[in-house]
Amino acid sequence: MSNAPAGDLCLANLTKRFGSFTAVDDLSLTIPQGSFFALLGASGCGKTTTLRMVAGLEEPTAGQVLLGDRDITRLRPYQRPVNTVFQSYALFPHLDIFENVAFGLRRRGVRDVAGQVRQMLSLVQLDGFERRRPAQLSGGQQQRVALARALINRPQVLLLDEPLGALDLKLRRQMQIELKRIQTEVGITFVHVTHDQEEAMTMADTVAVMNAGRIEQLGAPAEIYEFPASAFVANFLGQSNLLSAEVTGKSGEDVLVEAYGARFCVPASRARCMQGSVYLGVRPEKVRLAASSDEVPGGHQWVAGVVTDSSYLGVSTQYLVRTSWGIEMSVFAPNSQAGGPLPVGADVVVHWLPEHAFLLARERGKEESPAPARDRVDTAGVVS
């Protein structure tokens, strides 16, 4: 089993069915060798199942897993040059740290493991922990042992199954930086499964957003954030204002839409769908507030409304503005100007650059725009 990094990881039409439930639905994906790849999605979307199929811990119902030019679909886990960092770390409780880390090497018949083990423990900053037991370590330390145990085998692909889930916020941030550093240093392909969008966007070169067994969108973090491919992605990553609209025509490079009786235009390059029912989307941090329509800069799209809620968050203030059509739009305004937040009841004009908006396909009959989630304060202070 050669461990020289060689080849992209390719998933071809991968499907996994459990009885009548389809966990992974005809998934195809290529992960370039040496990249940091994130599989992002909510619980139950199939991301962990996909990971397990790559590891060999789950047998695909259909499809293939290819590593470089090698079809590893039918290989047992111990026959694949792939290692996993488990969500619960899965450290062997009856072995000490040294033996845990050396486990893979020993199984492959490597004799002299001491040097490599020490080196690896150094890499994860756990020098001197060789003789301790997993139960004596903190969560963060256990996580690093799990990482060392996997990395020491120099796999072609390292799979990480929500490895930072059990850590507190500060430690998680620390580990995110650590993992990224190690990946850059070691140059191995990392496939990181997570439900935390911030984590995915911070660490990964490429993110795939998964929903119900399928990939909704694949791309660099900025790309998928700024130009989501579907309403799901628009709402899963950060927040979006989605207005139900109908395409009424084209004008040069722009697509014309009508929403609730008002007319808007969006550049064609920002449209996923150019006819029929659409969502006109714009992110709350891209939206500005003006006192009246006179103060709206030229070229901006605008809507008049009334402030119905204002939440001061330190870095920014989150407003809810009800338009004359009764729809509430979410606005994140940075608190960088002098003067306090706008009061509830104030008349305002909401405006945005056309290039900041996007058009997404909408199912006929889904009239209501998905309500902006007000209590997702974890993305507080999104500053454009």
């Binding site: 811990l57 886990p77 290692n83 488990f86 619960s88 899965a90 062997f92 409780p93 199984r107 037991r133």
Partner: protein, 267 residues
């Protein structure tokens, strides 16, 4: 002050009763230990008479008793061995495999634990007599394996089902094939359960009277010896054996908890 006292009583009266009951549980044990140092005034007396170390110095003064103890140890050892192996296999089947007839198997395992020993003993006797099997050492072993099996299965099953399957996945992910995973990961993890089951089985077998009584023929185990001696007069050495059993068991418990604590203390 009265109020503070009242509060203290209110908070602690449950524990006080509990400790009293515990004392009640230990009273006979204390008596057994005490009696082991007793020289009874007569063979049929059960009262404390005179302190002596003779019983401990010559525990086998009545040779019959020590024969019975040896017999018990032999039987329990063999029965434990067989029951533990068979029971562990069954536990693995129940926890790790899918098969038809699971509820029938569960019933078969559960029933011996819920059946009165009297019924199990007499039914075995009925079978042996009807089949013309001579009663003795081996019929006792057979009977003991039978009732220990269920306890072994339950004990090992509890340990096995509590085991993290991810550990085995991790092992396979780290290049251990199925056999290596079983040997290096699964077995060490289940072992405490198997050991506990074996110890439980041994103590159940050693102390069994009712089922043994019906199936022993002329073979005498320690409990049977005591039963017979209750008529003829109990030698005080019986309490020596009782005390020794207690001490050995306590030592095992202490040892295992010390071991457990040592692997948990920070280096």
């Amino acid at each position: 002050m009265g109020h503070r006292l009242w509060r203290w009583v209110a908070d602690h009266w449950v524990m006080a009763i509990g400790l009293l009951v515990l004392g009640y549980l230990f009273l006979p044990v204390a008596v057994v230990i005490g009696l082991s140092f007793n020289r009874p005034s007569s063979r049929l007396s059960y009262d404390f008479n005179e302190f002596t170390l003779d019983n401990w110095r010559n525990p086998c003064a009545t040779s019959d008793m020590c024969d019975a103890v040896v017999r018990s140890v032999q039987i329990s050892f063999i029965a434990t061995l067989v029951a533990t192996v068979l029971g562990t296999l069954m536990a693995f089947a129940l926890v790790r495999h899918r098969f038809r007839g699971r509820s029938a198997v569960n019933l078969l395992i559960f029933l011996p634990m819920a059946t009165p020993e009297l019924v199990m003993g007499t039914s075995l006797l009925a079978l042996f007599v009807a089949a013309g099997v001579p009663l003795g050492f081996w019929t006792i072993v057979i009977a003991h394996v039978m009732f220990c099996l269920s306890f072994v299965v339950v004990t090992v099953k509890a340990r096995l089902s509590g085991m993290d399957r991810r550990l085995e996945e991790a092992a396979m992910d780290l290049y251990a094939n199925e056999w290596q995973t079983f040997r290096r990961i699964t077995l060490p993890q289940v072992l405490p359960g198997i050991v506990a089951a074996a110890l439980l089985s041994f103590s159940l077998s050693f102390d069994d009277f009712i089922i043994t009584n019906f199936n022993s023929g002329t073979t005498v185990t320690f409990p049977m010896y005591v039963w017979g001696a209750a008529q003829r007069g109990i030698p005080p050495q019986v309490n020596v054996i009782g005390t020794a059993m207690f001490v050995v068991a306590i030592l095992l418990v202490v040892l295992s908890s010390v071991r457990g604590r040592r692997t948990r203390v920070a280096a």
